[in-house]
Amino acid sequence: MFLSEAATGGPQFFYLAPWIVIFPAIGLLINLIFGSRFSEKVIGAIASTASGLAFGVAVLLGVSLVGHPEGEIVSLIDWITIGALQVRWAFQVDTLSVVMMLVVSGVGTLIHIYSIGYMHEDVRHNGDPGRYRRFFIYLNLFIAMMMILVGSNNYMMLFVGWEGVGLCSYLLIGFWYDKGKDGIGNALAAKKAFIVNRVGDFGFLLAAFTMFWAFRTFDFQEVFAKAPEVAAAAPGMILAITLFMLLGVTGKSAQLPLYVWLPDAMAGPTPVSALIHAATMVTAGVYLVARSAELYVLVPQAQMWVSLVGGITALFAATIAVAQFDIKKVLAYSTISQLGFMVAAVGMGAFAAGMFHLVTHAFFKALLFLSAGSVIQGVERGEHHVDHDAKLHKLLKGSGHHFDPQDMRNMGGLRSRMKTTFVVYLIGALALAGIVPLAGFWSKDEILAEASLLNPTVYWLLTIAAFFTAFYMGRQIIMVFFGKPRSAPAEYAQESPPVMTVPLMVLAALSVLGGALNLPGMHTFTGWLEHTLTFIHPGEFNLVVAGVSTGLALLAIILAWLLYSRRYQALQALPTAKRPDDPLRPILGPIFTLLENKYKVDEIYDALIVKPYAALSAFLADVIDWKFWHDWFHDKIIAGGFQLLTRVLSVQVDLGFIDAIGNALGKGTRAVAGRMSLLQSGYVRSYMLSVVVGLVLIVGFLLLR
């Protein structure tokens, strides 16, 4: 509160900060409680409004920060108070968190609106319109959780959001849980995402525990204030925290070695892929590193590891994307690769560049995913058309195999059939490829320029990755939109309704103009973040770096054009059986197959981790638990021992000792009584005699005493 008094002026709406969580929560509650009575339009409108209001609040917070760039902590309630430990629900409103809030709620709102149209068809295509409402409830829950994550002022509250978005991710990947391979594929993908993320969360928890050990607090301010002191006393502590945190980042932000869940996460509906698995949730790891910047700058070793992980992931995933045929899988690997760029950037200390790329990537990758969704539904509409046209249906019946509307080999020539989608897709692809002057160029170039100064190894990794990026995007554009349709559904593909294309156009505009946020020489965005991350510096624009990367990107696009347009047409002359499905396949040979199989990483993990783990659990269950604990320890030792003990107690102790005492007493009494009873002869005279004798004895005793 004292901060605001020292403020320089301008309107302040910091007190509104909790509403970024409350608005989506209200939206989801309305849809949860009353949604069953609403029509689809009303449900979609409520959810979009809730998200839009959160965006409005984020804008107001941003406006307030212009006048008061130091920000404010808006405390809501106390959460945990144990001794000296105090954890609050408090919102950290500063330039870094508000950037995330704007991206999450802004892109989120556009995706909500897009989903109104997309899910309308999707629920019908998958045959369960009842799930329409559920989808929007999950989306609003996601926005609320993401806001908790980016808005928190301590690591504990951040962890709540961290887990919350993981839950939403799980729910939405498994949205069509009864669909997919063998009717269980989507559920398995959701499970995989959840479990792999759990490994990362384990790292986050270890980081939190270590942090508590070292700092005795979770508050950002207090941790950062104490960090230099702790670093001086115990440098290993900070290193441990940052490296454990890196494990959490690799899980959530899909980096090596925990990236494997993200490609499978494409099982979710496409808006989910756009919102959660491209634009926002997966950037949480990048945000976490940027947020913990003051810890990372203290340990160069950790920075080196983070940037190396990011760099290798960027290249690794970009090469896989080259050989994928599923339109969404290409984008998924592209996302992993671009996240690698961001992680590498924040890892090497280029926090502004990383966050800048996060923002522009959110624009163009959300755009690409949503356009891909539009393409898929366009092809599905074409398929629908073919199915209901008797003549065409008969003609195509011979092919027989199941039609996959996401396979790019079934597409082609969509340029003239889906004009709007084509234009926005092209914008997104060029932005991703890093072509001047689209958003991706400026942000990617800033990362590359910083890398060339800070970490040459990573610079080369990223530059090669950028080449592949341009190549696979060129390949995708050509396969999907150019040439002739390769299947009947593609030939009859239809454009999507305006409710879907309008958000696409907005995102396309953002992808074009997003670079203006941080143009070289102006550094608006860097200046904005400088209020929070005081030690960052504006990256120098490097003409050589920019020239090299743009040249490589253009080269890659030309290469893609030669291969997938020229060479593809040349290959059409071959008979169908000999014709390769990808012109690159005969050139690269086994390497292409290896790339197509994603370096067999899933198989390696399966063999190295999943199988031994399953074998270990089977061993633990069958041998250790059942045979050892149950059969041997429980049955033999415990139960057997108890039975032995009871037998000893009942036979030896009870029968042999305690009962024996009782019996002996009884017998003795009977024996004594038997003797005594002889005295009772029944002759009164003898009794009398004893009386007299007794009397004589007593009297004699008295007399003679």
Partner: protein
């Protein structure tokens, strides 16, 4: 007046006769009579000592004993009659069903 010793001696003799009677005889009636003899020997001793000590309490005691003896005889003879009804004998040696 005869000295008290005589009375006490007579009392002792009577008592001995009573005891011997109770021990030796089997007829319940005679046992009763012997018991009466013992009681009366005691009475005689009481009266003699009362006379010697010139105290009335001994005399009073005798009346008390007489009353109790009368009650005892009443109960005892009733028992005899009842035993005779069942056993057709009042030989005490026959009444031994309670022996151990």
């Amino acid at each position: 007046m005869l000295p008290a010793t005589y009375y006490v001696g007579l009392s002792a003799i009577l008592f001995i006769i009573g005891v011997v009677g109770v021990i030796t005889r089997r007829n319940a009636i005679i046992i009763f009579m012997s018991i009466e003899l013992m009681l009366n020997s005691a009475n005689l001793a009481f009266v003699a000592f009362a006379r010697v000590h010139e105290a009335m309490s001994g005399q009073v005691f005798v009346f008390f004993v007489l009353a109790v003896a009368a009650a005892e005889v009443a109960v005892g003879l009733a028992l005899m009659v009842s035993i005779f009804h069942t056993k057709h004998s009042i030989d005490v040696d026959n009444i031994s069903s309670l022996k151990g």
